[in-house]
Symmetry: C2
Subunit: 196 residues, 2 copies
DNA sequence: TCCATATATTGAACAATGTTCAGTTTTATA
DNA sequence: TATAAAACTGAACATTGTTCAATATATGGA
């Protein structure tokens, strides 16, 4: 039984999110139930609803942190003078992250929320796209704001599609090594077409 | 109350699948519950389990038909002498289908089945890839079976990623018209890179 | 025609889910 | 120390998928 003196609200919030992440990593999305999470932190199910509006809220928070993690990884990709090389490094970083933490991404790709995601999460989903836009803006050919926005989205979506492929084929014949040269071809030539 | 004499087993199966499809189209994936489907065909919930091993079975059947539909659409794309044009026509066909029947594709992309999909469904998922492979095989450059397989998958996955983008942005600013030229650039240049 | 057998259908019941909230316990404050 | 505020509980509710004994219906042979 959880005691009020054990943790203040912020600590408890943090504890809950981490318990959720741990369960997600171990049991997958379907393991993240109110009773499981409550049990893991030593509180009763009702307490979850003291911290979050609903269970979706917990998953939104977890997903939000996964995006933070992705953004950190993208930001720490070494700067490349060549735009194409930079974008390829982004894609590979994304692919490796998805591949190494599949359940975190399962929660992002396949969680069917009954409630609306908060604006803060929607912003974080946008963050990687902003980073891609920044790099695309360095292309010699001048692109309008709209062109930049759309082409970043299309490029990232196609990389995203390939992440899904890798994710769905965890036990199959498609490895990172076999996909990387094709990602390279995809990006190299998409950019070539964009700037033609 | 359903009467045994109303339909034989095959008719009832058909009736159930169609009821499922109708509910899916109208209410989305979350509307497809055992009780809803049973109510729609005038039988009790238990009857559903006489026709399918479980509810996933019904959704597998519905998804299977969606893939059949896609394959029909791809097969009726007018033959193009140019491989790239042919692939672009495929992608546009796919995009338009997803865009016009979003809930059918929601069931394919976001249904988290508790049970394993039957081999027959897995084969149907492969069918569009086979069609893409066939066209890729017409490229002047000779590709090995493995190269063909992998590049078809990567190409289709990236188109798939863009379908998801369009699907997730049904009310947003991304239209078919704005995406089509970028799909074109994506495919044109991916193939250029592949055959270089 | 009528009974016996096989099949189809029902619907109550079970477990698990998210969620609520009246009641209890604990802490902070005056 | 008494009172108010906040946190926490856990039983309860509605809704899921799913099962299965009981019932209803159809079939085929005497």
């Amino acid at each position: 039984m959880g005691r009020r003196s054990d943790h203040d609200r912020d600590e408890l919030f943090e504890l809950t999110v981490q318990a959720g992440q741990k369960i997600l990593a171990k049991k997958g999305l379907e393991g993240v139930t109110a009773r499981n999470v409550a049990g893991a932190i030593g509180y009763s199910p009702g307490t979850i609803y003291n911290l979050f509006d609903n269970l979706d809220g917990l998953l939104f928070e977890i997903n939000s942190r996964t995006f933070d993690d992705l953004v950190d990884r993208l930001r720490s990709v070494p700067a490349q003078t060549d735009v194409v090389e930079h974008l390829i490094a982004f894609a590979v970083t994304y692919l490796e992250f998805v591949s190494s933490a599949p359940h975190s991404w399962e929660a992002i790709f396949f969680h069917n929320a009954s409630h609306k995601a908060p604006a803060s999460l929607l912003e974080k989903i946008e963050a990687p796209l902003k980073i891609v836009e920044e790099v695309l803006a360095r292309l010699p050919k001048p692109l309008s704001q709209d062109e930049l926005r759309l082409s970043a989205r299309v490029l990232w979506s196609s990389v995203h599609g390939i992440c899904l492929l890798v994710l769905s084929d965890k036990l199959g014949t498609i490895s990172m090594k076999s996909v990387e040269p094709l990602i390279r071809a995809l990006i190299e030539n998409y950019i070539a077409g964009l700037t033609a």
